[in-house]
Symmetry: C3
Subunit: 280 residues, 3 copies
């Protein structure tokens, strides 16, 4: 820091690890843990009971542990609400993460992401700029969400799911009502840009929801669905890479960047993972 | 406040009521009124001529009374522009409300909402995260807008309208042109997720625009429209709640949370309201 | 400034021109130039190697020169990344512009715009609130992008293109893959609200993509395409202004606000421009 023009405000019972950088203008509440090697950029607000894993980055103007609705009754936060963020997080500027969620390691966000309470998020998940995760949902490992994705409450997203920009997972079959039904996206499903998934829909793995689809029925394994309302328009086996000419799907055999099989190939990695009882 | 590391900057002729909390880092302009019991969180910018009703919450990093376009001519704001916000507002962090609008009581927003100038907004309205109200529009009472709704200029939204995520109300029938025509949503209409309403469209009450609809013609009372372009696909009387089995519409008989008939039922409330000349 | 409660932090080798206003709470890095007459509002973060042209406005809470991905390896920025912004920029509050881009003069944004690295942007371009330009793209002069537009990497947008709210330019024909193909929008094309353009699509000039279209094939000059998937639904010559009754397209003969032919008409301006060798 060049000089402390307006140093951080730091609360009580705060544990700050070694080699942590905290830039000017930050506000850090009570009972906060920031583990070794982390970097907290300018003007970050970390409310009470937030735990940030080692070697994490929190971008400027982020709010971590944001107030849940019960705060507004008496302008006082409930001590039972905590936010846990695993190691090596990269949370870009302007993001707001509520208290009451648990996030695995190597979490990445774009800018101005919102993640509300009661979201359970696995390891190595990324969430693009302006995405809005409404909480009360479950997201597995290695899920990739691009910009401006909207995940409604009660969504259930398994491991290795791709969600492209402006995809919306809805949850109210008869709006307005109290009878919400979440969308389920099974492992290895791919949801392309701007599609809308109606409440209660299940999309099986190794399938593709095409851009702009309005999905009103469950999607079977291997199907490509598109249109409004969406219909089966092809099968993933027919889709070829325009450069290499090879079949693209199942994509775990053609794409490895950032995936756990990055250093070898899917089958080798999988065999080893099963042997090591890490499971899928 | 734990300590005044960087106290608020406060302008001239500012009236701050009793039991008001102003957190560090705020900037409050001239001729601002903050009524009793309100809570202004960290780093809020309140420009000149803003009036905030009692027991309101303004979240961190909000900007209230944001500059209109005329500011940029000489980097000076016009004194005639004011922003009035009624009592018990709950404006979540990162929202930007322009000067030149009037907002009723019990207004609620999500995060990073934008409301531009010349918006007239009634009582008990809520606006979800990232919604963008372009101003020059009229919004009634008890209107519920979810995340990422876009309300074009010249829109006219009556009381008790529901607007779900990513709905867009357009206004230029022949883009680009100077001849804007707003969308009209009548009382009790329901506009589901991701639908687009073309300029000049009127949606009658007790109707449902289905998710993903591209609405190019007026929607009649009781109709369900869907598709691209939208066609009549059903009648609201056929829609049943998947849990209770009851008819969902007209929804004022099956949904009451946050509505003025919350404590009784619609007919009882309505009869009393008429008797008391409160009108609808 | 009323008083320096928390004055700006200013780095080394910073050049600030005459009549520059810098409001409290700003952080200005090393090797920054802010030219004459500019106005930097509260809490702006300007990182290293940013150059802002004269008479520009940077709104509150903006971040200019935001870190690229390589920052996160060692929490250190690469000195080779610079951000150049031309004169008379108007960058509204909450916007984030990465280092590594070059932007022409009279650039305008709405609020909370994101522009990533390796975007080459011409003169007199405007980008609406919440729009997300993913970088690695080329945008010409006098391009108008409304709210919440998403410009994927490898997009190529020529001069005088209109893009309305929630339009998405995609780039991955076989998601997920490494074989991106950008969208090309030719001069004078008009892309209406909420349409999705599939990877590699070319839209010729003097055409109209209708609201909500999912465009899977190239669009020919003069065609109006709409629907999902989009088909030719009309010809631009049939579209009349609902007030004046005149043909709207080619729009350069019926719309001039903010265009270089604003003071005369398109043909007069064009003849003069050719004569002066300014080209188109």
């Amino acid at each position: 820091m060049k000089h402390k023009a307006y140093p951080a405000i730091i609360g009580e019972n705060v544990s700050i690890g070694e080699n942590v950088t905290i830039k000017d203008g930050c506000v850090i509440g009570d009972n906060v843990t920031i583990a070794d090697g982390s970097y907290i950029d300018y003007n970050v607000i970390i409310r009470d009971h937030v735990c940030i894993g080692k070697r994490s980055f929190v971008g400027a103007n982020c709010i971590l542990g944001e107030y849940q609705a019960d705060f507004f009754d008496g302008f006082a936060a409930d001590e039972k609400h905590v936010l846990d963020i695993g190691e090596r997080a990269l949370i870009r500027s302007g993001s707001i993460l509520y208290s009451g969620s648990a996030i695995g390691k190597q979490f990445q966000t774009g800018h101005r992401v919102t993640i509300r309470e009661h979201a359970t998020i696995g390891d190595s998940v990324s969430v693009g700029t302006l995405s809005d995760i409404q909480g009360h949902c479950k997201i597995g490992n290695y899920v990739r969400m691009h910009s401006n994705v909207h995940i409604g409450q009660k969504s259930n997203i398994e491991n290795y799911v791709w969600i492209f920009p402006y995809v919306i997972l809805t949850n109210d079959p008869t709006p307005p009502s109290y009878a919400l039904k979440g969308v389920t996206l099974k492992a290895f499903s791919v949801i392309a840009t701007g599609s809308i998934l109606l409440p209660g829909i299940t999309v099986e793995g190794d399938s593709l929801v095409a851009a702009g689809a309005v999905v009103t029925k469950d999607v079977k394994q291997g199907d490509v669905v598109g249109g409004n309302p969406a219909k089966v328009i092809s099968h993933v086996s027919r889709i070829k890479n325009h450069v290499t000419g090879e079949s693209v799907y199942p994509w775990r055999y053609t794409f490895k960047r950032g995936m756990p099989w990055e250093e070898s190939d899917y089958d080798t990695w999988y065999a080893k993972a099963v042997q090591q009882s890490d499971g899928l």
